[in-house]
């Protein structure tokens, strides 16, 4: 399972970076989304995977007797997903607006703020 997740994370990061380096704005956002998902899976993996051991104590126990699944990474990933969703939807709206105003999807056309005027 770990090996599979590692490969998926690697693919997501590679794909995300590749898309980020493209000139199209739309592909850039897709790249950022892929990268964000990769980061989320990474946190999930680094919190150690434990199968079938929920972090719930049995009746009458004071401490965990056995190894258990860490609930914290899941909470972190959930928070990160929500935050990422907000930011990404803002970015998509922004790109739509830029496309309407400037009528281009090519990042190389967005150089008027860098020009010396």
């Amino acid at each position: 399972m770990e090996i599979l997740l590692i490969i998926i994370i690697g693919l997501l990061h590679a794909g995300g970076l590749y898309m980020l380096l493209r000139r199209s704005m739309f592909k850039m956002i897709i790249g950022l989304i892929l990268l964000g998902n990769g980061a989320n899976l990474l946190i999930f993996l680094l919190g150690r995977l434990v199968k079938g051991k929920p972090p719930v104590m049995e009746d009458g126990m004071k401490v965990f007797a056995d190894i258990y699944a860490d609930p914290l990474p899941q909470a972190l990933v959930l928070t990160a997903i929500v935050i990422g969703f907000g930011l990404q939807s803002f970015a998509i709206i922004l790109i739509r607006r830029v496309y309407n105003v400037l009528n281009t999807d090519d990042l190389d056309d967005l150089n008027s703020t860098d020009e010396e005027i």
């Binding site: 990474p73 803002f90 830029v98 105003v101 400037l102 005027i117």
Partner: protein
């Protein structure tokens, strides 16, 4: 108790949301809220100054498990500075901001931005720091794009995409840290990271942190978004960005690289090199530009270099110099952009080739504007001078002579740039500029609006004069901060038990 500034700003933003599109009420309320926020900032500062580090455990969860809020001297100083800049910008925007922008919720978002900043300064949990970073950047996205001009949208694309990338990197680094130690509390991490066997992975993680915060604070190879976007929004927004947003990255760096990865020599060397290149590229960039907003944008980068330099040398004196510089820089950079905003309102342009004759037409205003401009250069006894003295002294101690050379070169470049601005804008004979039909000029404004624009500059100039002439007090403050940062045992003890205070 410590979270009071954060909660207060949250309430301020929420209350302002109820006055949607009633911009006159919003103006008054926002200034009042900012004043109260400043009072709370001063109160918290004095409390921590008397009692030492204070800790609030949210939900009363014991330290390494819950989210701790820590008010140490560094944190509360930053809260205080952010409320001062917040007040100044709030007054300035009440005078200068156009009604279309105010109607679309400038003030509520502005207070949420300040809330995010103060949350980041007070939190003691690294994931919580990430969350506050996100609050700050989403608020800054809205402020940057508010108004929807063509250049704003173009700048926003660059700003948004690079900040999203930086956040993702920050998240990845947090994932690594959690995998290494199983903790997120910064005080707990400071102990646990020392005992990690896999030093290589710790170094890699600190490298990811450096890149993530480096993008946020615009250090050398990662600064290109800043001059492309900071001059596009209205000057009041640029002022708060310039004063506080890049400094948030510096704050996070100072925190992580003293508390978590303290004294890593390899990273220190990298930072020294980056600092030198940042100073050089920022200074040279500023020399080339003709637009005042862009010139000041490059100067931000140049002075970020000074801050990184102190952190890279990593001695108590160097950190002290950095903290002093940070205090000076927040006030002066905010003021600088307010000045450029005022010049824009008076003349209708920010191109220094077209401007001129300010000194002849507005002698008193020009004298006022001279204070931030020349304290930026560091002409003694103004505030920039003292900070540079300590940085250079620290450099002599650690024998970083090349870095000292770059710091002196950076100061010289700043002097050159400011002299150029002063000569072109204030002393050059002014040509009569064609008036644009759609803009509202300073001379056409009501007396109240004019005062609302001048007063914050007076306020901030007064504070930077105080930093210059009352330097011994600021030195005591910076010494205390740097000794707390260099010896984190007090911080760790306060968070992990012993001196816990509940709200």
């Amino acid at each position: 108790m410590i979270v009071l500034p954060i909660i207060f700003q949250f309430i301020a933003g929420t209350v302002l949301l109820f006055f949607w599109q009633k911009s006159n009420i919003q103006k008054v309320l926002s200034i009042l809220f900012s004043m109260t926020g400043l009072a709370i900032g001063i109160w918290l500062f004095l409390l921590v100054w008397e009692n030492g580090i204070m800790v609030t455990q949210s939900g009363d969860w014991k330290a390494p498990f819950g989210i701790s809020f820590v008010a140490d001297t560094f944190g509360v100083t930053m809260v205080l500075l952010s409320s001062i800049s917040g007040l100044a910008v709030s007054i300035f925007s009440a005078g200068s901001m156009r009604k279309e922008r105010l109607d679309f919720g400038f003030f509520p978002i502005f207070h949420f931005l300040i809330m995010g900043l103060q949350g980041a300064f007070l939190t003691g949990d690294i994931f919580n720091l990430y969350v506050w970073f996100e609050v700050v950047i989403i608020a800054s996205f809205v402020l940057l794009t508010l108004g929807g001009k063509k250049s704003q949208l173009e700048g926003a694309i660059k700003y948004v995409s690079l900040n999203l990338l930086a956040s993702t990197l920050f998240l990845i680094a947090i994932g690594f840290i959690y995998g290494l130690t199983g903790s997120l509390n910064m005080a707990d991490l400071a102990i646990k990271l020392d005992n990690v066997q896999n030093r290589g992975l710790v170094s890699v993680t600190s490298g990811i942190f450096l890149v993530a915060f480096g993008i946020k604070s615009a250090i050398f190879p990662m600064y290109f978004w800043l001059p492309a976007s900071y001059h596009t929004p209205p000057p009041a927004v640029s002022a708060i960005f310039a004063g506080l947003l890049t400094k948030l990255g510096i704050y996070a760096m100072l925190r992580t690289f003293t508390l978590l990865f303290g004294g890593d020599e390899f990273m220190g060397d990298i930072m020294v090199v980056l600092a030198a290149l940042t100073i050089l590229s920022g200074g040279l960039g500023a020399l080339l530009q003709q637009n005042m907003g862009k010139i000041f944008g490059y100067l931000i980068i140049c002075h970020i270099g000074f801050l990184i330099a102190g952190l890279g040398m990593y001695t108590e004196l160097a950190i002290m110099g950095t903290v002093f510089y940070l205090i000076h820089d927040i006030i002066v950079k905010t003021n600088l952009f307010l000045v450029s905003g005022l010049i824009l309102k008076i003349n209708g342009t920010q191109d220094i080739r077209e401007l001129g004759g300010m000194y002849k037409n507005f002698p008193l205003l020009s004298l006022l504007m001279a204070i931030p401009l020349f304290s930026l250069v560091g002409i003694p006894p103004l505030s920039g001078f003292w900070a540079k003295i300590f940085l250079i002294q620290a450099g002599l101690e650690t024998k970083d002579y090349v870095l000292i050379g770059f710091i002196v070169l950076g100061s010289f470049l700043t002097l050159w740039v400011i002299a150029r601005v002063w000569g072109e804008v204030f002393w050059k004979k002014g040509e009569h500029l064609p008036k644009k039909a759609n803009g509202l000029y300073f001379s056409q404004m009501s007396k109240t609006d004019q005062w609302l624009m001048v007063f914050p500059i007076v306020l901030l100039s007064g504070i930077s004069l105080y930093i210059g002439f009352g330097a011994e007090n600021v030195i005591i403050l910076s010494q205390r901060i740097s000794s707390e940062l260099m010896d984190p045992s007090g911080y760790i003890e306060a968070v992990l038990g012993l001196k816990t205070m509940n709200p």
